[in-house]
Subunit: 205 residues, 2 copies
């Protein structure tokens, strides 16, 4: 769902996108590629990682590290990896717990395991429809970004602006992913309370 | 600091307030009582708990359970306990970690240990100056509230309104304290980024 939504937005902005899956002929990915025309294609995680200049991790947090191993260290090396995932654990029922929290984060784990990759954590504090359409809210609120590589963050900030984001807050290095990932428990509560996932956090002063 | 600020606000609204400390003659508490006139007094945690109709836990999260034990189960029984504390652990340096998170929260621990008390968690997602003066921000944002007792929450919502709060979000039972306490790591990051603790979260739609 997240990959489909982000991929479709990127295509609409004129980017070429290859959707990666466990298998080269994943049905949903193939359907997505067919629907999205000449700029769209699909393949294995490794195919997508080799193809992309910028890689988006849109997998479920619990399988992100495995998916990135399948993508292949050699295919990711030196590239920007935009991590929009959250380490949610639904195995104990609702509301979900986090598989990692407090003293570590999924963003940090990915950066530690792939030291050659420039991990930029962003967009993980909202529903995927909102990620690509901030104008869908009367007040879009903020999008947070963090990562260790300043140039990578600048490049992803430009991409976020092309999505329509205006209020981008750079929280610093990748350890700030602890903060954005741990916002998920209140996000889930708010979704239940508001009856919709179409809301966001706005930092007011 | 938090108790001083909340106590002073409550006095200004015409409430009688007894500030509790470990010792009956705590210097800061005595000074606060002297400065705040006839409605203000101070004593031990037990004195304050016996005196109050509504109890505010403004202690540091790491010592909250101990302070409430000192306050005395018999003095708290049947009362509303407004928990504004956070389980922050500064012992490993900055930024602080949480002593409890993900699968539990301080609000829940207090409620479990004091089953006769109506714990209402609120105001813990902001600086204490903002707690009592939402008008200090151009857009005050939201205050969150949670707890198991609906009447207790209604009473505390009235109190929050008397502080000037308009946008109060009831997140449900006390387990929602996990959500509001785990918002602290991003709060700390934002304070560093913005250079001020005078900001808040606003939920936008």
């Amino acid at each position: 769902m997240v990959g489909d939504t982000l991929g479709t937005k990127l295509i609409s902005l004129g980017h070429k996108v290859k959707m990666g899956s466990r298998t080269a002929n994943n049905e949903k990915a193939t359907g997505w590629a067919v629907r999205n025309g000449n700029l769209a294609s699909n393949g294995t995680f490794a195919d997508a990682a080799a193809f992309g200049e910028i890689i988006f991790n849109c997998t479920k947090g619990q399988v992100s590290l495995e998916a990135l191993q399948l993508a292949g260290r050699e295919n990711l090396q030196g590239k920007i990896l935009v991590d929009v995932s959250n380490p949610l654990d639904f195995s104990k029922g609702m509301p979900p717990l986090l598989t990692i929290s407090n003293t570590d984060s999924l963003g940090e784990m990915i950066q530690r395991q792939f030291t050659d990759v420039k991990v930029v954590k962003t967009l993980n504090t909202m529903n995927c429809q909102l990620m690509v359409n901030p104008g869908g809210l009367k007040d879009p609120g903020n999008v947070f970004i963090c990562g260790n590589d300043a140039d990578a963050k600048t490049e992803i900030e430009s991409l976020l602006k092309s999505f329509g984001w205006e209020k981008i807050i750079d929280l610093g290095d990748i350890s700030a992913a602890r903060g954005t990932e741990q916002i998920l428990p209140i996000w889930v509560r708010l979704m239940g309370k508001l009856g919709t996932p179409m809301f966001n956090f706005s930092i007011v002063q």
